[in-house]
């Protein structure tokens, strides 16, 4: 078992070594001249505007929360999907009930205006 892992170990060593070598070489070889433009935040050539720490709109929160909740509820589908052909009608009814409840919650969030932008 441990033997089969050595390529991955080697890969990590090569990656780390390459990064370290490149950094060390550029430190040694490249000339170092500081100026103000270089110290600025890199914005692909555009001059940076405003602060980095911006307040994000509160509406993101509602959407993010809905996403987290529904996303996590969806993990119950995985164990069901693995065995659904063996647990028959009963399992299907259970899952339909579960999804109906989720859809109800979704409709509720919609009607309450949680999805209005």
């Amino acid at each position: 078992m441990p033997v089969s892992w050595w390529p991955i170990g080697l890969f990590f060593i090569i990656v780390a070594g390459f990064a370290a070598t490149s950094l060390a070489l550029s430190k040694l070889v490249a000339p170092s001249r500081h100026n103000e433009a270089k110290a600025e935040t890199y914005e692909s050539g555009i001059r940076p505007l405003g602060e980095a720490q911006q307040r994000s709109d509160i509406r993101y929160y509602t959407v993010a929360m809905l996403f987290v909740v529904f996303d996590v509820e969806a993990i119950f589908l995985y164990p069901w999907a693995v065995v659904y052909d063996r647990i028959g009608l009963y399992g299907l009814i259970e899952m339909v009930l579960f999804i109906v409840l989720l859809v109800g919650a979704y409709l509720y969030a919609w009607r309450r205006g949680a999805l209005d932008w």
Partner: protein, 496 residues
């Protein structure tokens, strides 16, 4: 559950258990009611008016009826052993459903007058009741965990329900953070229980734990201590009580009335079941710890309540004290002495009426424009005699006064302690409940003897008055006619 999924992955065919739907019918009724309440929001243009409380009430009454008709049945274990409906779980089901009914009655006027979203309130309240029922009926660690969370998380929401009130927000934040903390501790305890025993069902855990002579005893002890700590938060036992005064004081009073009884009942049910069933064999290990917790809880609750000048906060500390009294009944449990547990059950039932009534009276005062300070009750008797009498009945009940349900509740618990060989503990509890008289009499003296300070507005609060009347009458009537309930509690405690 475990065997089910292992089988599913291993073998070709899976036999799903046929669930006993009657056993979970109270939960089904409440779930349908909660979904319908939210469904009314979806169909909003079509439906308006008083429909929400009516649906919630219908669900609760149906759940109560469905629990009552099962009372005579034999114990049922269903859903692959995750769920157990027996006299014990039905007793707690009935208790928390009654708490829900009273809460719906007393919160009606608060909801209509304060412009809070009604549908959400009732849906969340019903979810919490469902969670308490699941906690009491869980016969498996996973079901227990889900039940406890389904009971607690809605109460965080309810605590913060007065969205524009900073006090309510702050209380909700403290409650939810400490509640989450306690949940994590409980979960770690359940994890270790599973890890050590390899089982999640209570009977299998009991079989593995045995009487503590087997291996892994230290790990089993660690697990049971973590479970006690985690559930200790939910029942507000010292030293896990820090959230209680703030959450109870900051929450809308009608919410405090509900959660102070239903969360306590649900968490006590879970604690009693897991300690006496799964960890029943090692009662010699957990019993002394619970006795210490019970003593410090009684002392702190009773002593700190004396110095409070806000009746709501005073009742919050009194609720901590009552946790201590109830713990006495559980702490002195042993396989041959289940009387204490029947005392705990009876206490939880009695407490539902007394405490919901007492907090409900504060909500009534608020609805009439008063506050919850000690001065606000001054001269209540001359202004609203019936309200003053009802409030007094509930306070006397909490005190354990004769002819109220508080007396038999305390007597049963303390008797069990004495019968279990803890005469000193019974005497100490008796002494501390006498201390309670100091702070319960204080508002009463002011109600009857002092001049009114606050002028009460007089809106019509018929629904609320019905709820408060039921609570106060229940406190008095059960004080005289307690034997049927106690017989039932005894049957529940002895595994009928």
């Amino acid at each position: 559950m475990g065997s089910l999924f292992t089988g599913a992955l291993g073998a070709a065919s899976v036999s799903l258990p046929q669930p006993n739907l009657l056993a979970i019918s109270p939960v089904i009724a409440l779930t349908v009611a909660a979904v319908l309440v939210l469904g009314c929001v979806i169909a909003r243009p079509l439906i308006r008016g008083v429909v929400y409380p009516v649906i919630a009430m219908a669900g609760l009454v149906a759940a109560l009826a469905l629990a009552l008709i099962q009372l005579g049945n034999r114990p049922v274990t269903t859903f692959s052993g995750n769920w157990r409906t027996d006299a014990f779980s039905l007793f707690f089901t009935i208790t928390v459903v009654i708490a829900g009914i009273l809460a719906v009655l007393i919160s009606d006027s608060w909801l209509t007058e304060n412009d809070v979203p009604q549908a959400e309130f009732y849906a969340v309240l019903l979810c919490s009741v469902i969670g308490a029922i699941v906690s009491a009926s869980a016969y498996n660690l996973i079901a227990l965990f889900v039940g406890i969370e389904l009971m607690s998380v809605p109460t965080y929401i309810l605590t913060g329900f007065a969205k524009h009130n900073r006090v309510s927000n702050e209380a909700a934040l403290k409650y939810s953070l400490l509640g989450g903390f306690s949940t994590a501790i409980l979960l770690y305890g359940l994890t270790w229980t599973y890890g050590v025993t390899g089982e999640t069902g209570y009977p299998a855990i009991r079989g593995f734990v045995g009487n503590g002579q087997g291996g892994f005893h230290a790990a089993v002890l660690l697990a049971s201590m973590l479970v006690i700590a985690g559930l200790g938060f939910k029942i507000a036992a010292v030293p896990f009580h820090m959230w209680t005064p703030d959450a109870y004081q900051g929450a809308p009073t009608v919410v405090t009335a509900f959660m102070s009884v239903s969360v306590k009942a649900g968490a006590f049910a879970a604690l009693v079941r897991i300690l006496t069933d799964a960890f029943g064999g090692i009662y010699r290990d957990w019993s002394p710890i619970l006795i210490v917790i019970a003593i410090v809880t009684m002392v702190l609750g009773n002593v700190v309540a004396i110095v409070q000048n806000d009746v709501k906060r005073m009742l919050a500390y009194s609720s901590i004290a009552h946790t201590g009294f109830m713990l006495v009944g559980l702490a002195t449990w042993n396989p041959g002495n289940a009387v204490g547990v029947s005392g705990v059950l009876f206490y939880a039932f009695a407490y539902t009426f007394m405490n919901l009534g007492a907090f409900g009276m504060l909500a009534w005062l608020e609805a009439h424009g008063a506050g919850t300070g000690i001065d606000d009750v001054n001269g209540l008797f001359s202004r609203a005699p019936l309200a003053a009498l009802g409030f007094s009945a509930c306070l006397l009940g909490l005190m354990g006064f004769p002819f109220t349900v508080g007396l038999p509740a305390k007597v049963f618990v303390f008797q069990a302690a004495a019968g279990g060989g803890y005469v000193w503990l019974a005497l100490l509890s008796l002494l501390l409940s006498a201390v309670g008289a100091v702070y319960y009499f204080r508002p009463m003296v002011r109600m009857f003897m002092h001049e009114p300070k606050v002028v009460l507005a007089s809106p019509r609060q018929t629904v609320m008055a019905v709820g408060l009347g039921v609570a106060a009458l229940g406190t008095v009537l059960l004080g005289v006619l307690f034997s049927p309930v106690f017989d039932l509690a005894q049957r529940a405690a002895t595994g009928g």
